[in-house]
């Protein structure tokens, strides 16, 4: 069989069809429209089914903490009467150490149900560990394909640690240098092994996160007698935010504001060999967050089940220095030592809480495990070794790839709003590109774009002029 780059890429659709077990064509409608809800219903699982699946492998039902000291600290810096109660959903308590266990549990369960012998996932991160852990529990083989090193053979301590964790669960880890052709290696492996593609973006993966949203609401109601006002989700590929928001709606929490938070890595190219090790965040950053929000179908399956723009009320960025600072704050003031990447939403919430009233509730919806490599100490040390200027100062002066600025004072921690209008505009532009001919959008297509962007049909029309 022809294993050249072009030959393998041209067999992409055929390989994927075998490896995911979903006929995406079933959900394709007129023009650019596809029936997202039908896909989630028919190809995914209901909330009740997921709870049962996850319960069998100890996934979910993670604790929720009220961060009293951080709330008090926020109130010290907020105007009188401001400073919402900050709660944190401790997803690090899942078997593999992050919320990704929820995604993996459903995907691996599904693979086993369909009779696949093994699962493959392409990820440098927590998801790989989650798939490996679930595969171990269900007795399936597992291969993780990871973008790990630059051309000097140097890897972020965080990524190297995650490779170790995957191996600890019995997975084979295929480590690659930087580049989007990781997808080519991934396709090759799927074709060679006939394993299931445990993609992050299948309906099973996203539906798996719905329990995070439903639990969170139920726990907050139980603790405080009311629903949360704001939930902050770390946003990368969009699955975390999408699943959480869907789960919240399924238990009747329609009014909760959903905020996406990403680390600002502006100016660093995701496929650049030299930029690779200048990033101190390998996930939860704008390099994934923005492209996947404005064009969700750029993932490794024909249609992504992660469609964050449908659910996002607000999108903020936070700097690397601010997230590292908040990670240390969480350990020092709340006694919770957790991995930095998961604390992106915490840093944003600490700032947003100060805009809210004292009797309001803001929830940070995830944490991740920490340890050698995945801790602020090795990550800051690695940054310094790579010539990144690390110092205390004003986070607003941070330049990704050049400096990491730890806030001189916690009052300098400030979530910066991205322009939602521009993000929606960018989504609409991508749809126009997708159309590939000069015809006008049909009414059905306009309604689809409206739902996708959380706009009215009239607003969509206005953007097309």
């Amino acid at each position: 069989m022809d294993r050249s780059y072009n030959a393998v890429m041209s067999r992409k659709t055929e390989i994927m069809k075998k490896a995911v077990g979903i006929d995406y064509d079933t959900f394709e409608k007129e023009g650019i429209v596809f029936d997202y809800e039908a896909m989630m219903r028919e190809a995914g699982y209901s909330l009740e089914e997921i709870k049962k699946i996850q319960g069998e492998t100890g996934v979910g039902n993670t604790p929720i903490y009220e961060l009293r000291n951080l709330t008090n600290l926020a109130r010290k810096m907020a105007p009188a009467g401001k400073g919402a109660r900050i709660f944190l959903k401790d997803e690090a308590s899942n078997p593999s150490g992050s919320f990704k266990a929820r995604r993996a549990a459903t995907a691996v369960y599904h693979a086993k149900k369909l009779g696949y012998k093994g699962v493959i996932a392409a990820t440098s991160g927590n998801y790989g560990a989650a798939v490996a852990s679930q595969a171990a529990m269900l007795g399936l083989k597992c291969i993780i394909v990871q973008e790990c090193y630059d051309s000097q053979g140097k890897g972020q301590p965080e990524i190297v640690e995650k490779a170790r964790k995957c191996e600890a669960y019995g997975a084979e880890v295929v480590q690659l240098t930087v580049g989007p052709e990781l997808f080519y290696s991934f396709l090759n492996l799927l074709e060679e092994t006939g394993y299931f593609n445990a993609s992050l973006y299948t309906p099973f993966g996203i539906a798996g996160v719905e329990t995070l949203g439903s639990e969170l609401v139920e726990q907050i109601v139980e603790k405080t007698g009311k629903q949360p006002d704001v939930v902050v989700c770390t946003n990368a590929g969009g699955g975390n935010l999408t699943g959480t928001a869907r789960g919240m709606r399924k238990v009747g929490a329609e009014g909760v504001k959903v905020v996406g938070a990403s680390v600002n890595l502006k100016g660093l190219h995701m496929a650049s060999d030299t930029d690779f090790n200048k990033k101190s965040f390998t996930t939860g950053h704008t390099g994934f967050g923005i492209p996947f929000t404005t064009n969700p179908d750029r993932s490794d399956v024909p249609r992504s089940a992660a469609r964050p723009l449908r659910y996002m009320d607000r999108y903020v960025t936070i700097t690397q220095g601010e997230v590292f600072y908040m990670t240390e704050s969480l350990a020092q003031l709340e006694g919770l030592e957790r991995g930095p990447a998961g604390n992106t939403s915490l840093a944003a919430a600490f700032s947003i809480a100060q805009e809210m009233d004292e009797d309001q509730i803001i929830v940070v919806q995830e944490t991740e495990y920490t340890g050698a490599g995945k801790h602020i100490q090795p990550q800051l040390s690695f940054a310094r070794d790579n010539g990144i200027d690390l110092h205390f100062g004003n986070p607003r002066d941070e330049i990704p790839g050049k400096s990491i600025i730890l806030p001189e004072h916690p009052k300098m921690i400030k979530a910066v709003d991205l322009d939602m209008d521009k993000i929606r505009q960018s989504y609409v532009k991508n749809m126009v590109k997708k159309k590939s001919d000069d015809r006008e959008f049909s009414d059905e297509e306009l309604s689809y774009i409206a739902v996708e962007t959380n706009l009215t049909v009239e607003e969509v029309k206005g953007r097309l002029k």
Partner: protein, 101 residues
């Protein structure tokens, strides 16, 4: 150095030479090959630096240049970063109003 059959080793391959890389990637990445590292059990005695066949932990047979015997994880908690110590100190002073001073 000779690695013995059955040893846990690491092999190396070039997946794509620079000329074969995808057209859309940045210039710096296009200059270098796409490289790959895989670990597994060595199937025949082989000298480090020679081509080797391995069986991975999931039972896949792969060939590549033998580069390491008993590869270990080299990551750790890194060098001491003095700034980190200042964060908790500052915060506790702020929050607890200089208690214990």
């Amino acid at each position: 150095m000779l690695a013995k059959k059955g040893d846990w080793v690491m092999i190396y391959n070039i997946v794509l030479e620079p000329k074969d890389r995808a057209p859309q990637i940045p210039e710096d990445t296009k200059k270098v090959p796409l490289e790959m590292w895989i670990k597994g059990f060595l199937l025949e005695d082989t000298e480090v630096g020679e081509m080797a066949d391995i069986e991975t932990i999931v039972g896949r047979k792969v060939s590549g240049k033998l580069i390491e015997i008993h590869p270990n994880h080299k990551h750790n908690y890194g060098n001491h970063v003095p700034e980190i110590l200042q964060i908790g100190k500052t915060l506790k002073e702020l929050l607890f109003d200089g208690e214990g001073k």
